[in-house]
Symmetry: C2
Subunit: 310 residues, 2 copies
C-alpha cells in the first residue's frame, strides 16, 4: 500500500482543493497510519480548518509552536496558516475544511462583518479543550457536522447551517482582535523558513551546516539568512543552537543522563561551549537547571509556545 | 399626513428595493392605517416575502384568490408573484422580504438544490395557519426573526441564521413540486390582467364596459381580450359576470335581501338574465341556493381558491 503524502507547491500551498466551487466544504477522516512517517507535512490552504482528535494523539505544528491534541480536543486553523500534523500509528483526526466564502459571498455584509475579521486577523489558530465551556460547545457542533454527513435529507443544507453555527460560536467567544494581521510578507519566504526550521528539528543532533539548512528549501545561503531574519528575526545557526539548548533542557529534566551526553545528543560536541551557551539562555548551569527542575516545572510549565522539548 | 402608496412600474414591479445588495433583507411593520384606502395595491418583487398579521385582519389577493389572514396567521409569497393586501383601519402586518440569493449565492449547490426549486416552482404562496404544526413552527421562527432586529450582538448574522431555518422548515414540509412553473409568459400582460381584474372587483356593481376595463390598464380592447384569454382563459365580460354571480351568491347566504335587489346590487339589472346565468353557474335557482345555504356551507366551505363572496 502506498503511503499518503500531501502534495504542495513551492510556497507549501496544498495542491489539492477541498470541496468544489459550488460547495467549498470537505470532510476528511485523517488516519495517520496511512501517512508516510505518520505526519502530514507542512502545508497551507485558503480554507479554514476545524480538526478534532478521535483516537491517539496528534501534534499540530504552527510556526514555532507544537500543540498536542488528545482525544476529544480540537483546533481551529485560520486561512493561509502554514501547519503540520504529527501523530503516532493509531492517531485519527476527523476534520473539516471550508472556504471562507462558503459562509457568505465575498462583498456581502455577512462576509465583511463576520467572516473577514476572523480570516484576516492575526489569530493563526485556536486550541479547543474540553475544560472550556465554549470550546466544548464548538466541539459538539463540530461532531454534529460530522454526523450530518450520515444524513441524506437536506444533507448539504444541514452542513451549511451547522458550519454557520460553528462560526458563530467562534466569532462570539474567541475575542479575535479585528486588527488585521501584519502583512504576512512573502508566502514563498515563509514556506522556505518552515522547511528549513523543519530540517533543523529533524537533524539538530547531527552536525549540520548553513548550506545543508539552505538546501532543505532549495535556496542559497544568503536567501536562507534572509528568510530567517525576515520571518523570526534571527539567523539559522542561532535558531539551531537555541533549538538544541531547548531540547537539552528537556532532557535534563526528563532523564538522568549526564550533562555531557545530553550535550552530545543535542548536537553540541563541545561541552564547555554548551555550558556557556546554556547559561546565557537559562541564567544557570545545566546542573543547577536540573536541580531546580521540579521547582521550575511548577513555576513555569513548558507552554504551548515553547519549541518541542522531547 | 400623506398616505402611503406603493410605487410600481408598468409591469407592477415595485420600484423600491428591499435591503441592499450587501444584505438583501428588509423588515417592515406594515400599518394599514397609513396606506391609502388601507391597502397595498397590486405589485410584485423578486424578493420572497413572509408576512404575518399582528392585529386586525388582512386579505392577501393573489391572482383570483383572496386569502383572509387573522392575527397569528401568515403567508409566504414566492418571488415574482403579483399580490395585493387589503385591510381595515387597525390592520398591522409585520413582514420580511429577502432576495433568494440572500440564502446562498446563485450558482452554489445550496442555491440550486434548496433555493431555486422553491422560487422557480409553480407554488405562488402558502398560507400559514396556527392549526398546522409545521406552520406554527415556521411562524414562530418568523417571530424570532422579527425579534432578532431588537438585538445588537451579531444582529445580521442572527437574522441570516433564522432566515435559513425559516427556509429549511418551508423546504422540508411544503411538499413543493420541484417542477418549474409554466413559463409565466409576459409579465406586462399579467400586470395588465391584474389591473383590469381589480377594476372589475371595484366596479362590478355599476354598469361597466369592455372599454372601461381596458382603460384600467391603459390598453386597447383587443389587448384586454388578449390578456384575459392568455392569463385566465376567459373574456373580460365573462369574468365580470362570474364575479357578479359569486358576489350575489355570497349575499344570498349572508343577507335576507330579495333576489332582485341582490341582482341589482351585483350589477345585474335584468333579474331574468341573472337567474338564468346563476342557474348555469350553480345548478340551481338563487332561492334554492339560499335554502340549501347552511347545508352547502357545511358541505363545501368557501375555499381559499374561490373568488371573494362578500
Amino acid at each position: 500500500m502506498e503511503l499518503k503524502r500531501l502534495e504542495t507547491d513551492e510556497t507549501l500551498r496544498e495542491l489539492k482543493t477541498h470541496g468544489d466551487s459550488r460547495f467549498p466544504f470537505q470532510y476528511y477522516l485523517d488516519d495517520f497510519s496511512l501517512y508516510e512517517n505518520h505526519w502530514e507535512d507542512w502545508h497551507w490552504h485558503n480554507e479554514v480548518e476545524f480538526a478534532s482528535v478521535s483516537s491517539g494523539c496528534a501534534d499540530c505544528l504552527i510556526g514555532q509552536q507544537r500543540i498536542t491534541l488528545r482525544p476529544g480536543e480540537g483546533i481551529f486553523i485560520n486561512s493561509g496558516v502554514i501547519h503540520r500534523f504529527e501523530s503516532n500509528e493509531n492517531g485519527k483526526m476527523p476534520n473539516i475544511l471550508f472556504a471562507p466564502d462558503f459562509l457568505a459571498p465575498r462583498g456581502s455584509l455577512i462576509y465583511e462583518k463576520y467572516v473577514e475579521p476572523v480570516t484576516a486577523s492575526s489569530c493563526e489558530y485556536l486550541v479547543l479543550r474540553q475544560a472550556e465551556p465554549w470550546h466544548r460547545e464548538l466541539l459538539s457542533m463540530l461532531y454534529q457536522t460530522y454526523a450530518a454527513l450520515e444524513q441524506t435529507e437536506m444533507q448539504e443544507y444541514t452542513i451549511f447551517q451547522h458550519v454557520l453555527q460553528l462560526w458563530r460560536i467562534l466569532f462570539q467567544n474567541a475575542g479575535i482582535n479585528p486588527t488585521p494581521k501584519e502583512p504576512r510578507g512573502n508566502t514563498l519566504q515563509q514556506a522556505r523558513l518552515q522547511l528549513m526550521m523543519q530540517f533543523i528539528h529533524d537533524h539538530f543532533a547531527a552536525k549540520i551546516t548553513l548550506e545543508e539548512i539552505a538546501n532543505a528549501a532549495s535556496v542559497s545561503k544568503s536567501e536562507a539568512l534572509h528568510c530567517f531574519h525576515a520571518g523570526i528575526g534571527t539567523t539559522p545557526v542561532a535558531y539551531l543552537i537555541q533549538y538544541r539548548l531547548n531540547r537539552a533542557a528537556g532532557q535534563l529534566l526528563s532523564t538522568t543522563a549526564s550533562v555531557s551526553s545530553i550535550a552530545m545528543e543535542s548536537g553540541m560536541d563541545n561541552v564547555g561551549y554548551f555550558c556557556r551557551k546554556f547559561r546565557q539562555e537559562y541564567g544557570m548551569t545545566p546542573s543547577e537547571y536540573r536541580k531546580n527542575g521540579a521547582l521550575r516545572q511548577n513555576r513555569k510549565a513548558p507552554s504551548e509556545g515553547s519549541p518541542p522539548i522531547g
